[in-house]
């Protein structure tokens, strides 16, 4: 496993995303306190920490759902404040959700297709008449989506409403929808939460394949240490909204603060 990480090492490039001194609080309750870390091109970056450590809040800050009171986020050299989620998405950052946020009323296909919206240009009138560009667009993007469907091995469920799928598959659809954006950075919010062992292994495989084949930079949250340590290049550890550790899996494993705050409490 570590071997593979080495194998990928040389592909890892410059810093694409840098979080600098971000603090966030809801009506007095501190969620994040002066957190800083960076993410390099093509790497798999993990954010770990016990529940309530502020992991999800961190993701929400990155993709603009929450706006931090202090601190900035530098993305590809450009600083951004108060960007709205859709602007962040447009700039190439996609994400999945911890507690599934799929569009229940829609089929698997439509869910994933909706991930292509950013790339669909034809105006309403064309869509209304469904002629020329509009029709072509639908088919082109359908082809892309079909690739993703094959990639994640969910061909059989194309037309089923997502609501009817088992949890594990819904997680995949969530990933598929994010991939449909062809993101530069992919944020994964506990992609393996509530999965059994082989589902987890599948998910790991998918994540690494995405990273390898599409060269997508990945930022993922997990509290299941074992998995994270295997697949991620560098790990940030949060505890009560503060950063208490940052570095390669091995370094983090060795970090005393982390052991106290985190490893201590788990097995």
């Amino acid at each position: 496993m570590t071997g593979m990480a080495d194998g990928r090492a040389q592909r890892i490039g410059e810093v694409v995303l840098a979080v600098e001194g971000v603090s966030l609080s809801f009506g007095g309750v501190r969620a994040l306190a002066d957190v800083s870390f960076d993410v390099r091109e093509h790497e798999v970056r993990a954010i770990i920490g016990p529940n309530g450590a502020g992991k999800s809040s961190m993701l929400n800050v990155i993709n603009g759902v929450y706006h931090p009171q202090q601190g900035t986020i530098r993305y590809m050299g450009r600083e951004y404040h108060d960007m709205d989620p859709h602007e962040v998405a447009a700039s190439g950052i996609a994400r999945t959700f911890q507690n599934l946020a799929l569009f229940k009323g829609m089929s698997v296909l439509d869910n994933i297709m909706s991930g292509r919206n950013l790339k669909m240009r034809s105006n309403i009138l064309l869509q209304a008449l469904r002629i020329g560009p509009a029709l072509r667009e639908e088919i082109e993007h359908r082809e892309v989506v079909e690739e993703i469907i094959d990639f994640l091995e969910i061909q059989a469920y194309r037309k089923t409403p997502v609501g009817r799928l088992p949890y594990g598959l819904q997680k995949r659809v969530d990933l598929a929808r994010a991939l449909a954006l062809e993101p530069r950075i992919l944020l994964l919010d506990e992609p393996m939460a509530g999965m059994n062992m082989e589902e987890k292994q599948d998910m790991c495989r998918f994540i690494l394949d995405v990273n390898d084949q599409f060269g997508t930079t990945i930022v993922l949250i997990e509290h299941d240490m074992s998995v994270v340590m295997d697949i991620s290049d560098r790990v940030v550890v949060l505890d009560y909204g503060k950063k208490i550790g940052d570095g390669s899996p091995d370094e983090v494993r060795a970090n005393q603060a982390v052991i106290d705050a985190y490893l201590g409490v788990t097995h």
């Binding site: 759902v65 569009f103 297709m113 919206n117 209304a128 469904r130 509009a134 639908e138 088919i139």
Partner: protein
């Protein structure tokens, strides 16, 4: 047995994405259209045209409009008659001031004006959700009621405040006989249904449904709420505007603001609840239901030779409406259209058990 898609393999995405992928459905739809255009004009009496079929067609159009907003985009409105009113009065004034204009053009213009107003009252939806929005749309209702009753220009200074429309004439075709009205409306409805269908299965449609199902996620994958919600409001109001113009010109011929009051708004809402949220078919079923029920209640006693006071029937109507709303919300939130779909599923497998 006969309703089976075995052997109908889709070789291209285009064929897989067409409106009715299943052959039998295409045949059925074709037959239906032939029947509606070819047979109905001969079997249906004038009374039924004027008091059932024509209102049904127009209200179905309005219901589709409301459904696009409520059923597909998840933005509730209990004031949509307001946009019908805007459409009606816009059409009246355009037709009055530019008489030589083709009626279809008048319709579209009226729709566009309604759409503009719709966007205006849709703006609050960017900040508020659900129940709050409901009240915002009520504002639209009461404001337009007042506006058209008070600003004399809209009614061409008619001293009674009631407006009359000249009979519709298009390219020499004088649409006044019930059958003609029916055919004209049917044509309009078919076109607009087609357009609605296209919209909801294009990416704009997916954006709406995404906003409806999980707005935060929708924004995170790059959907602009402003765009999604306001387009929904615009197009929905456009539909209602056109429907309103038709209601005034084709059905009423002469009306006062009261013709587009809150009751109509609520009825539209009932149509899509009973018929089916997020279903074009549902809009049809709901409209038919709401149009037929009161008249049925009104006449059934006579057919059965019973003596029921007119007061009683109208009270019964209220009660049955109310009970039905509750019934559907509890038993089948997706409305009659869902039952229809379930039936089709069953038929698809028949005679084999699943």
């Amino acid at each position: 047995m006969f309703y089976r898609e075995n052997g109908q393999f889709k070789s291209t995405y285009a064929s897989d994405q067409q409106m009715l992928p299943i052959l039998q459905d295409r045949i059925f739809m074709a037959a239906l259209l032939v029947f509606a255009f070819g047979a109905v004009p001969f079997v249906v009496s004038d009374y039924l045209f004027l008091s059932l079929v024509i209102p049904f067609l127009i209200l179905a159009l309005a219901a589709i409009g409301l459904n696009l907003l409520v059923g597909y985009c998840g933005q509730i409105s209990i004031g949509h008659a307001a946009f019908m009113a805007v459409g009606a009065y816009a059409a009246y004034n355009i037709a009055l001031r530019i008489p030589q204009l083709n009626f279809l053009v008048v319709l579209v213009l009226a729709g566009l004006i309604a759409a503009a107003v719709g966007v205006l009252f849709g703006v609050p939806s960017l900040r508020i959700k659900g129940l709050y929005l409901a009240v915002a749309t009520l504002a639209a209702q009461f404001f337009t009621d007042w506006l058209f009753a008070r600003v004399k220009w809209f009614t061409n200074y008619a001293h009674s405040g009631s407006v009359q429309t000249a009979p519709i004439e298009m390219l020499g075709w004088k649409i006044d006989a019930p059958v003609e009205k029916y055919l004209f409306l049917l044509g309009v409805l078919v076109v607009f249904t087609l357009i609605a269908k296209n919209l909801v299965r294009s990416h704009i449609g997916r954006e709406w449904m995404a906003m409806r199902d999980m707005d935060v996620a929708a924004e995170v994958i790059g959907i602009r709420p402003v765009y999604a919600k306001l387009t929904a409001f615009a197009i929905s109001s456009f539909y209602c505007g056109v429907a309103g113009a038709l209601w005034g010109f084709v059905h009423l011929g002469s009306w006062e603001p009261l013709a587009f009051n809150l009751t109509l708004s609520l009825n539209l809402l009932f149509m899509i609840i009973i018929g089916g949220m997020g279903s074009l078919l549902g809009s049809y079923i709901g409209a038919a239901f709401i149009v037929i029920l009161p008249i049925l209640l009104n006449q059934a006693p006579q057919w059965l030779g019973m003596r029921v006071s007119t007061a009683m029937t109208s009270h019964l109507e209220l009660m049955i409406f109310g009970a039905l709303i509750i019934f559907f919300l509890i038993v089948e939130p997706l409305g009659l259209a869902r039952l229809w779909a379930v039936g089709k599923e069953k038929l698809r497998l028949w005679p084999f058990p699943h």
